[in-house]
Subunit: 587 residues, 2 copies
Amino acid sequence: MKRTDFNGNLRAEDAGREVTLVGWVARRRNLGSLVFMDLRDRSGLVQVVFDETMAARVKDVRSEYILQVTGLVQMRKDANPKMATGEIEVLAKDVRIVNTAETSPITIADDSDTSEDVRLKYRYLDLRRKPLQDNLILRHKICMITRRVLDEKGFVEVETPILARSTPEGARDYLVPSRIYNGRFWALPQSPQIYKQLLMIAGMERYFQIARCFRDEDLRADRQPEFTQIDIEMSFVEEDDVFAVVEDLMKAIFRETIHAELDEHFVRIPWIDCMKKYGSDKPDLRFGNEIHDLSPIFADTGFQVFRSVLDQGGEVDAVCFEGLADQYSRKTIDRLQEFLKAGFKAKALAWLKMENGVLSGSVAKPLSEEEKAAIVKELDMHDNAIAFLIADQPNIARSALGALRVKVAHEHDLIDHSQYKFLWVTDFPMFEYSEEEQRWVAAHHPFTAPKEEDVDKLFTDQEHCSSRAYDLVLNGYELLSGSIRIHDQDLQEKVFEAIGLTMEQAREKFGFFLEAFRYGTPPHGGVGIGLERLTMVLAGTENIRDVVAFPTTNSSLDLMSEAPNTVDDSQLKVLGIKTDIKTPESE
Amino acid sequence: MKRTDFNGNLRAEDAGREVTLVGWVARRRNLGSLVFMDLRDRSGLVQVVFDETMAARVKDVRSEYILQVTGLVQMRKDANPKMATGEIEVLAKDVRIVNTAETSPITIADDSDTSEDVRLKYRYLDLRRKPLQDNLILRHKICMITRRVLDEKGFVEVETPILARSTPEGARDYLVPSRIYNGRFWALPQSPQIYKQLLMIAGMERYFQIARCFRDEDLRADRQPEFTQIDIEMSFVEEDDVFAVVEDLMKAIFRETIHAELDEHFVRIPWIDCMKKYGSDKPDLRFGNEIHDLSPIFADTGFQVFRSVLDQGGEVDAVCFEGLADQYSRKTIDRLQEFLKAGFKAKALAWLKMENGVLSGSVAKPLSEEEKAAIVKELDMHDNAIAFLIADQPNIARSALGALRVKVAHEHDLIDHSQYKFLWVTDFPMFEYSEEEQRWVAAHHPFTAPKEEDVDKLFTDQEHCSSRAYDLVLNGYELLSGSIRIHDQDLQEKVFEAIGLTMEQAREKFGFFLEAFRYGTPPHGGVGIGLERLTMVLAGTENIRDVVAFPTTNSSLDLMSEAPNTVDDSQLKVLGIKTDIKTPESE
């Protein structure tokens, strides 16, 4: 079809040219005998004018009709500075109605007040909005840059199976019944973890894949049943090598999409220090207000409350905000306390305000002058500063103050939104205590290597046994997870034992994979980067559905195609399954 | 880990350099007090020499152990011209055993006589072979080039869902039961067809995706249960626009992978002419030997056999081979006849040989001299030429001679394997007759547009109604299929009616998709390119498993992970299904 230009690209310098355009009618206005239409294609909008004679040919044309227009570009009398093409318009000389359109069931506009559910049902119409199209183009760009950067570094993209083996760990698997082997099932992969490690054993050395992953979980707002991971694995590497690749990748992506120059090297912090300083393993570093452990100040305190917490192995932590003391009335502080009690188990929130050089507040009285002076020094408090203190078990005090730190920063706009603060959190714990199972379980997948110096803690001090797992955090979001893997068979067996698996159980769970380790496994490690999260950060949206072409609701429904749907019994029959639904009566 | 060089890259100019290498021991030889090892990484092999003192440190090292070696590159006394690194070797100064390896259960060599099944079980070891690694790297390159070329042309890669709606057409779907909506199922997509057409309706204009597709079919040797398609769709286009994009893409891929320059424009031939000339819709054009319709010569023949075939609407077709008459004894010809009878329903194979200017053969006697002269002229027969003739119904005569054409060409090596002969076959029939259902059914998916001039044949002459579907054929293989789609609602309804669907049935099958067509659908079309087939052609292999990292057997089994496998009943319970396997007794 003839088309000389893209609508959104026309500018003043095109004036005088004859162009042929195609596109959708975004808006139609009649002005006396003239008709004006905004014609939309992927590049944007341009105004087309139909004079008296031409107007008759478009008298039935309505919104979302598709036109092919030939006409002359001319300068507009009243330029529209809000439109990229606002200086010009196209005077139609010929027009063809390419297709008609019924009235759209949703308003195709960014300020549409159509509910999200209805827009999801008509996703193909909602996707006509430029911000959504731009997000998909951004996502495409991120993938193009990723592939170019990794290819240049010698990585090979390898497609691993979607019809995979079910491995009973992690989240719930989506299952696919086999027609040829009735009674057997594939699982859709939660990640290509096992395949990528096998590729390292196979000697591919540098693998990546922009891979679809599947988890049958109850969805949170920022999850979808299927999602995409930039999956990377490398052989003969240590943490530094993996970090260097990821940092180069992030720098290229941020430079080429949003023109942001990232720091030459990203900050690194061991997990334990991160928890002490920020009470979170994904801290937002766009603001300071770190947590301080004031316990040393109270080593000999006479304040009974602090005394007894310290005696029970607790600590006294504090976060200080300059210039906010006058913003916090007792009522405001009470609300903060309620928030911490409900979500973070913190029993009490103490506070101190610095006003005219004097400390006041909930614990001003019971503390000695020396203690108060030491607090002011430690927290570097100035006039109108407020410090929040929590005396509790370390985990509780830290995570409560970590949450308070973020809440106050958001409420008082302490965050510089132009910044991109990356942070490697390293040395994650090898184990976490399962209250449910009353034992230590693997904090990551069981192929994560322990830190070399902590190998002898595997059985003796699981709480303090660190792993070689790491996260990359950006502005408070976890962008990726990864680790250096175990490549030594003996160590692997020890780790299985430490998480309570006998070799027999391990073989039952990971059989063929364990066997593979016997034939010359190189040291290796890698990462999995959440593509949707990365795109959301770069697009500046909090809604994952803004960066997915055909998303589902939080209950995994596709409102457009109504998937999942019922199928014919004959389809189930060849698969050797039947439905087995508990009706309320039968339960 | 320290590593200064890749093993396979070392050359004479590196002599004198100290290098640190890592890799797998591919071969070990003891020569007196010296030990020689070939050290393998992804780049290739290099010979490492351990002198008397170093040899002691590697005395236990066996094949597939992983070493880190520091040493001096030196010229070899006896260069090995078969190795890329054959001019040099590395004299080890330091060595570290990075990992040990048990004896490999398969021979890791290209001439391995280990059976394919065992190699599939230990795929991660078989993948250590360079030809397999090179195939995966080739596949990666094809994808990189594809994405670059399409991105430059304004195409946007959009990921469409893997958890999709089951649409009851085409091949059998893989189903995924829903946990949240027990009794409902997703289907894994057979292709992103519906989604890519929705993206056109959404105004994305130029879409592509290197997309995983799934078909639950009984596998042929060149199929896998999941496969990958380079999926392309464009708006506001006709055939020429689609062909131009694909031709540019193919030229870039062939130039940049195997350094082959393709023709500026690919040959095009309408389907009906293709069938007449080659008896196949995917002819191999690397050799001539086209089919000639000799029927006009026999318009008034006295030869009763031809006479009666022609009277019944049949035709007399022939294929001629120069220089092969002396290769075909009666016995050889009988075998050819058996082959055609069994596979192609051809009742009889006639033949004529040109020897010393005289025609002999099975039909030399009954034909008149005039007829024979006309045959010699039409087929341009010279001495030692042999012509094969079939008188039968057109479809049978053509496809039998088409098969004969290929068989003879292969047996007598008439094919120039250095050539890449592309061919667009256009104007495929809109319908094909289903003997099973005793009616005309859609030859492609029902969204394929009929040729404009054939729209009125939709109900009156379905046999001769052509569509805007096309294939790209390379050297006898179908590389891709595609079509211009219907964008007009009325026409779509007519086509449904023509294939025997009421609008009600159509809505039940394609409901939401049909609704989408109402809101302004642009003219659009596209293709789906089989990535595995393309890679196979470029890699020069006939085995699809050579271009898939983790392939299955023909019965869809992954011998490595033993997927599909049985799962816990508890997993099925939450999905609301149970197995329903017919044991032989219960049937």
